[in-house]
């Protein structure tokens, strides 16, 4: 299973979601959009909007978009990741 977390380094819901995945030992790639600049940031914002039109964080993408979980929602994560 492939998990990407689009996050902001300052966002508490992102921090809590990452911490939760760490605790559950779920490997994931965290992309901190606010740590990027210029074209890279623009590209990432477009990418997040594709999965989550509201472009809110965290946006958690499972297997390239099979499931998209918006915000830190434990129940949805558990279900999507089979935890």
């Amino acid at each position: 299973m492939n998990v990407t977390v689009y996050a902001l380094s300052t966002c508490i819901h992102c921090k809590n979601a990452k911490q939760y995945l760490d605790e559950r030992k779920v490997p994931y790639e965290a992309i901190h959009v606010d740590k990027t600049e210029g074209d890279e940031r623009k590209k990432l914002v477009e990418e997040v909007k594709k999965y989550n039109p509201a472009c809110s964080f965290p946006t958690i993408v499972v297997n390239g978009g099979d499931r998209v979980i918006v915000g830190f929602r434990k129940n949805e994560l558990e279900e999507a990741l089979g935890l």
Binding site: L8, T10, C11, I12, H13, C14, K15, N16, V33, D34, R41, K42, V45, K49, P53, A54, C55, S56, F57, V70, G71, R73
Partner: protein, 112 residues
């Protein structure tokens, strides 16, 4: 300024307006206040830590804390999008009764 100083200063201003800090100081309020100070250093103003700021003051006006969405969010959900500001009632409810606050900011506002 430290997060503790910011806490004291904002508490005095916001509580009379009915906006209380999240009772979870350790895991929510203090880290969020730290993030607000980080954004102040980064952008020059306290942009919402849970939203992507452009760095352009005019463009980010609506998400400078307290953001313009705080009032409708608190009215509907009892908490702002970040969960930094909540109503007194929200603070008294068990955590499991708290609803997720969805993003209210129109995505068109996010322009780079």
């Amino acid at each position: 300024m430290t997060a503790q100083q910011l806490y004291q200063a904002l508490k005095k201003i916001q509580e009379p307006k009915g906006c209380y800090f999240n009772r979870d100081l350790e895991n929510m309020t203090m880290p969020l206040l730290e993030s607000l100070l980080e954004n102040k250093t980064r952008y020059g103003y306290m942009a919402c830590p849970c939203r992507i700021a452009s760095g352009d003051y005019e463009q980010d006006r609506d998400i400078i804390c307290p953001c313009v969405y705080r009032e409708p969010d608190m009215e509907e959900y009892g908490a702002c999008f970040c969960g930094l500001y909540v109503t007194r009632e929200w603070n008294n409810e068990p955590a499991e009764e708290h609803a997720y606050v969805p993003e209210r900011r129109p995505p068109e506002k996010i322009v780079f």
